[in-house]
Amino acid sequence: MEESTQVFSVDKLKAAIECMLFVTPQPLAIKQIAEALNLDEATVEKALQELRMDYAEGRGLQILHIAGGYQMCTRPEFVDCITALLKPTRTRMSRAALETVAIIAYRQPITQPEIDAIRGVNSDGVVKTLTERNLITQMGRKDSPGRPILYGTTEEFLNHFGLSDLSRLPELTDVTLPEPDQAVLPMEQPAEAPEK
């Protein structure tokens, strides 16, 4: 927008940012807003923070700081209203996807054989689906026989789980999940307590 070097009043600018956040389904970076409006980032940042304050209380919506940007979303306490409205459309991750993405999040970069070892089942399909859904992505190859692909989580993953960055995941690096090989196949069916 060239000609738009129109001087925005703060209120007008807030309203413009409100529009932009509203129409953008992904988190929107200050930089993107500033570029579109042809304004400097500091001005945008200031107006955005004011706008966030307006949204801080008594509203159904909020402006979250997510994945390096800002996103307008509903407040968690209204989840039931939304679910009631959308009924069956709201879907959840399958159990397999949930497990797999959790393992990848904590142990990235990780190869599929390593994931399989932890889960005790082949994860081909799930890894493919998660990749298609853009929750995980290939991060190169491991320097080991067969050079298997390494997987890691994406921005979309952060977005989906409402995390501003990976550091917000519980710190697991030092805790160590069971090493793939020693994690053993967890209870092959009858061996253990949960008899069938």
């Binding site: 529009c19 879907t91 949930l98 519980p170 967890p186 307590a193 949960p194």
Partner: protein, 249 residues
């Protein structure tokens, strides 16, 4: 919308594109600013036909309806030339031969005007944006008997770890070897099974105080879920997660 033509002479002519013969005819009439109820039929017919031949000479595709209209016009024109038959009462046959055409033109014009209003509405509406639907599609086979999302489990885990706090962390290699996933699963399963109404997630990680214990418990729960031994439910968003043994049939 206009048809742009480049003639051999090098001139560019823009012809308005007409939606049909009525559109063209209406244009010719309105352009002349004559009373539509008293169309100078001979003149208009002549113009109409010369417009058609212009289009033809330019090899434009002309819909058949344009020619039908041309013959209608010619017919009206010839009927206008006939002497008006001596009126026998209110004979409809004696009516103006143009009447039906005028009716059609007026009817068409009404909608043409309406469509222009609609166009303005469309323009206004185009300036306004709404959200596209959130992507709520399924992730994978919908086999999950689970009432909650990964997010909820992860949040629960996060909460738990936060409660333990950084300071009390006593991660050592010794600690690491003490707990295996297998052991944890057995332990968790035992506790869950003992409470028919189910047990809260937090309760399950009640006593262990190290991060690794919590993480192992979490993984054990995931594993038991995977095996279909237990199910997890949540009464309200971000509420306590209740874990229950799946009844064996």
């Amino acid at each position: 919308m206009a048809i742009e033509l480049i003639q051999q002479s090098g001139y560019t002519i823009k012809l308005p594109a007409f939606e049909g013969p009525l559109d063209l005819l209406l244009h010719l009439i309105r352009e002349r600013k004559v009373d539509i109820y008293d169309i100078p039929i001979a003149e208009v017919t002549e113009q109409y036909i010369s417009y058609l031949s212009l289009m033809e000479s330019l090899d434009l595709n002309i819909a058949g309806e344009f020619f039908v209209m041309a013959s209608t016009l010619l017919e009206i024109k010839s009927r206008m030339l006939l002497p008006i038959p001596p009126s026998e009462g209110d004979n409809e046959e004696g009516a103006d031969p143009r009447a039906e055409l005028i009716e059609r033109l007026l009817e068409y014009e009404r909608f043409k005007n309406a469509s222009e209003s609609l166009k303005e509405f469309e323009e206004e509406r185009r300036k306004v944006f709404w959200r596209i639907a959130d992507d709520l599609q399924n992730y994978d086979a919908p086999v999950m008997p689970l009432n909650l999302e990964a997010m909820d489990l992860l949040f629960a885990l996060q909460q738990m770890l936060a409660d333990v706090g950084e300071g009390t962390e006593e991660v050592t290699s010794i600690e690491r070897q003490k707990i295996s996933l297998r052991m944890k699963m057995r332990q968790v399963w035992g506790r869950i099974k003992s409470v028919p109404d189910g047990i809260g997630f937090r309760e399950l990680v009640d006593d262990p105080k190290s991060r690794i214990e919590i993480v192992m418990t979490f993984l054990a729960i995931l594993e038991l879920l995977r095996l279909g031994k237990i199910k997890a439910r949540q009464k309200k968003a971000l509420g306590e997660i209740n874990i229950q043994a799946v009844k064996e049939q």
